[in-house]
């Protein structure tokens, strides 16, 4: 049953070939035996649901650590929240449980979702199942590694600047970053609230559509959430006739793109043309400033969101006998890792008196220009294609000494994030025996179009996933 996709497993349970409880126990055993450090918590023995009520038939779900799950540790990869047991469950996790996807495990991640390699976790790095000396990407690295290794049928992640798409690319699976607002953020431990969005990490495009279909909806607890104007349907396209695929050549001219990544990308474009798509050049002239704008906006919002970790209401507390201020500053010193400290400092600096207009104000104007670029580009094309990341999975430790080099890995994913647009990463092939992701992005709420095109390409590319063995 382990080799089945989530959709196939749901069907098998529906037919009575296997019970929901058997499926849960089989995955619980696999997740418990995981040796990639992909998990921070696995459901205890005896927690299998007795039946698979709901349209998802009981196919168990791995959930990124930063989603609050009632009475289950939810630490967002941070020592400052070690052992934290939330009093409630995130809306999207509850929705999926009610739809028949029970909580299997919590997955490791970069601390507070800040990172592109999962090396910033307070609970140790995650290894890439394709090559254990390499990173799985991040920040949803645990979710991506778990799905790629077959220790979970599917997983939930979050994406702020690429944190679903980039690890999906590096682990050879599918990851969808939905339109901002289409999934409730209630119960997600916040990183950058104007960018954070939950999405599926799955073995194939159909599974991504199936999970996402049960994630959307307006939530009274998240005033930025919106009703999706379309109901999400399982993709079925075999051809791409009439689809105009835009390629932002100016953005791809970045010197850090590995040749093997570019070759795989070009091959995917030729496959799209064989399926009937028309590949056209589009221009995103402000995309080259997206990374700079992102590394102002996201840390600024993070520095504000992370002010709540002060040793008062939950989590770590240090040196209470030295007075209130020492308690605050020592708790935050000991509880946060280096990357989180860096971003708090950048964000506080960008928001501080005398710098606000030059940094945060300008970054928000750049964000407008980037959104305008996309609007103009989508007048000439239906979807935009890029490689998901400039490189394949890199070695553990390779970039930890150079934060900026790490940030450059998000070059192609960040523009979509700043504009709030949906984008998927699907495996396009291998370069030096490591997976390469193809990113397809579209206008707001175009998930059905994206999923359909990704499905047609997936069938034509015929990517061979990592062999999952029992």
């Amino acid at each position: 049953m382990i080799e089945l996709s989530a959709r196939q497993l749901a069907d098998a349970i529906g037919r009575g070939d296997v019970s929901a409880a058997e499926a849960f126990d089989a995955y619980r055993a696999r997740a418990s035996a995981d040796d990639l450090n992909a998990y921070t918590w696995v459901a205890p023995e005896g927690s299998a649901p007795s039946n698979g009520d709901g349209p998802l038939n009981g196919v168990p779900l791995a959930v990124k650590d930063l989603f609050c799950t009632q009475d289950v540790p939810s630490q967002s990869g941070s020592r400052i929240l070690e052992g934290y047991l939330p009093p409630y469950t995130a809306t999207v996790v509850r929705q999926l449980a009610e739809a028949g996807a029970p909580l299997l495990a919590k997955t490791n991640q970069d601390e507070f979702a800040m990172g592109s390699s999962n090396e910033n976790s307070g609970f140790g790095p995650v290894r890439n199942p394709w090559d254990r000396d390499r990173v799985p990407g991040g920040s949803s690295g645990g979710s991506a590694a778990a799905v790629a290794a077959g220790s979970a049928p599917w997983a939930l992640g979050t994406d702020t600047g690429g944190s679903i798409r980039q690890p999906a690319a590096m682990c050879g699976i599918v990851g969808l970053k939905p339109t901002y607002g289409s999934v409730s953020r209630y119960g997600m431990i916040a990183f950058a609230s104007s960018l954070d969005q939950a999405g599926p990490l799955t073995r194939d495009v159909t599974d991504a559509a199936l999970l996402y279909a049960h994630m959307t909806g307006r939530d009274a607890c998240d005033s930025t959430s919106l009703e999706h104007p379309e109901s999400i349907v399982l993709p079925s396209a075999e051809r791409l006739d009439g689809v105009r695929l835009g390629v932002p050549r100016d953005m791809l001219a970045y010197e850090g793109v590995e040749p093997g990544v570019m070759e795989t990308f070009e091959r995917a474009l030729r496959t799209a043309e064989e399926l009937g798509a028309r590949v056209v050049d589009v221009s995103l002239p402000h995309a080259e400033h997206a990374l700079a704008a992102y590394y102002i906006i996201a840390p600024a919002e993070a520095s504000s969101n992370l002010a709540r970790f002060d040793g008062v209401r939950y989590g770590l507390r240090r040196d209470a006998d030295e007075g209130l201020l020492a308690m605050y500053t020592h708790t935050r010193h000991d509880g946060f890792g280096d990357e989180v400290k860096r971003r708090i400092l950048i964000g506080t600096y960008a928001l501080s008196s005398g710098y606000y207009d030059a940094y945060y104000g300008r970054a928000q104007q750049v964000r407008t220009k980037i959104a305008d670029d996309f609007r103009a580009a989508f007048a000439d094309c239906d979807l935009i294609a890029t490689p998901t990341a400039p490189t394949t999975a890199f070695k553990l430790g390779e970039r930890t000494g150079d934060p900026l080099a790490m940030y450059l890995g998000d070059l192609f994913t960040i523009p979509f994030s700043l504009a709030g647009l949906p984008a998927i990463s699907l495996p396009a092939g291998l370069s030096n025996e490591l997976p390469v992701g193809l990113q397809l992005g579209g206008p707001a709420f175009s998930e059905n179009r994206i999923l359909d095109a990704a499905f047609a390409l997936e069938q034509a590319i015929g990517f061979e996933p990592l062999a999952v063995t029992a």
């Binding site: 934290y84 607002g181 930025t224 520095s303 308690m327 400092l345 407008t368």
Partner: protein, 94 residues
């Protein structure tokens, strides 16, 4: 560029203690990040409206009906220190 003193100033604003070594290291790392970020000063952004939020939602209000809130005991259950009915913090005077 950001120097040691500025790093310490920002760390104070952020209620973050830094050791000597960390201050030194952060000054170097933050400077290279800020150098990259400075690129946005090249752009002509005269008259461009800022985007604070990408989706247009205006006045997302709900009916003003009282409903149950988090139980006090549940809210206090994760606190590092508490009194009978509240969070306990050290004195700001200490």
């Amino acid at each position: 560029m950001i120097d040691r003193e500025q790093v310490l100033h920002v760390a104070r604003l952020a209620r973050l203690q830094l050791t000597e070594d960390e201050t030194e290291r952060m000054a170097g790392e933050l400077s290279s990040i800020l150098d990259h970020i400075e690129r946005i000063s090249e752009l002509d952004l005269e008259g461009v409206e800022p985007t604070t939020h990408v989706v247009e939602v205006a006045n997302a209000l709900r009916p003003d009906i009282p409903h149950e809130c988090l139980d006090r005991e549940v809210a206090l259950s994760q606190a590092p220190a508490r009194t009978e009915d509240g969070f306990l913090v050290p004195s700001p005077q200490a």
